[in-house]
């Protein structure tokens, strides 16, 4: 399967942003005097888990979008004066398949992340905070990007 430019671009942005935040996290460990080599291994594991999870999610979304055939259906939003009302249109088979695909992918990815987090917390060669924190960084990167874009406009 060929990776779409949109997926590659978004993953690269998230990977770069998460890397910056991970480095800041390691620097905070250093400042607090709690730095040792388990912080580095933990941060690496957490970073790989976060970016890998995002990439797999983007791939699933791309696959769902690729499998959608053009329906040629009209836009269901009809404007009646100032009010916009959406008609309750039943989903097509392709859309239903896409929905099931992303829900299955979400479940499997959560199991994978849980396994990685449990490994990171239980094994002594990883710092548990350094494993768990980078998993939340993609959300912060997206929020920061949104804030930067809105401040530009």
């Amino acid at each position: 399967m060929k990776v779409q430019p949109a997926v590659r671009q978004e993953t690269a942005r998230i990977a770069a942003g998460t890397a910056v935040l991970t480095v800041i996290m390691v620097a905070v460990f250093l400042i607090l005097g709690r730095f040792d080599w388990t912080v580095i291994t933990g941060a690496l594991l957490g970073y790989l888990a976060a970016v890998g999870n995002f990439f797999l999610m983007a791939l699933t979304v791309q696959k769902a979008a690729d499998e959608m055939k053009p329906t040629g259906a009209p836009d269901p939003i009809e404007t009646d004066g100032d009010e916009a009302e959406e008609k309750d249109v039943p989903l097509s088979e392709d859309a239903k398949r896409g929905k099931q695909r992303i829900q299955l992918s979400y479940t499997l990815r959560m199991f994978g992340l849980a396994a990685i987090a449990i490994l990171g917390v239980t094994l002594p060669c990883f710092n548990s905070v350094a494993v768990l924190l980078p998993m939340l960084f993609p959300r912060i990167v997206i929020a920061l990007r949104g804030a930067l874009q809105s401040s530009k406009h």
Binding site: V7, D75, L91, A95, K99, Y106, V121
Partner: protein, 102 residues
Amino acid sequence: MLELAIGIILAGCGIGAGLALIAGIGPGIGEGNAVAKACEAIGRQPESRGAVTSTMIMGCAIAETTGLYGLVIGILLIFVAPGIFVGTLKTALETWGAALIH
């Protein structure tokens, strides 16, 4: 008495972890609905595939974080919190227990 207190702490951590992991249900349902509607939009307007895919990826990532928060809290409650709570309880008993007896 100490065993009972430790049991209550462990039960609380277990119940809390279970409640935190309930947060993982919503994002799965929401992501599915969002992707289904986005697929419908691509079906209607195939030329907007790139823009819709980008927006959908960001939306799914944001929705998924809620589940991740629940997962992280649940794992902390199961693997990290019991040790901290039981340790704090034992220290408190050693410090204040002797003072109370005397």
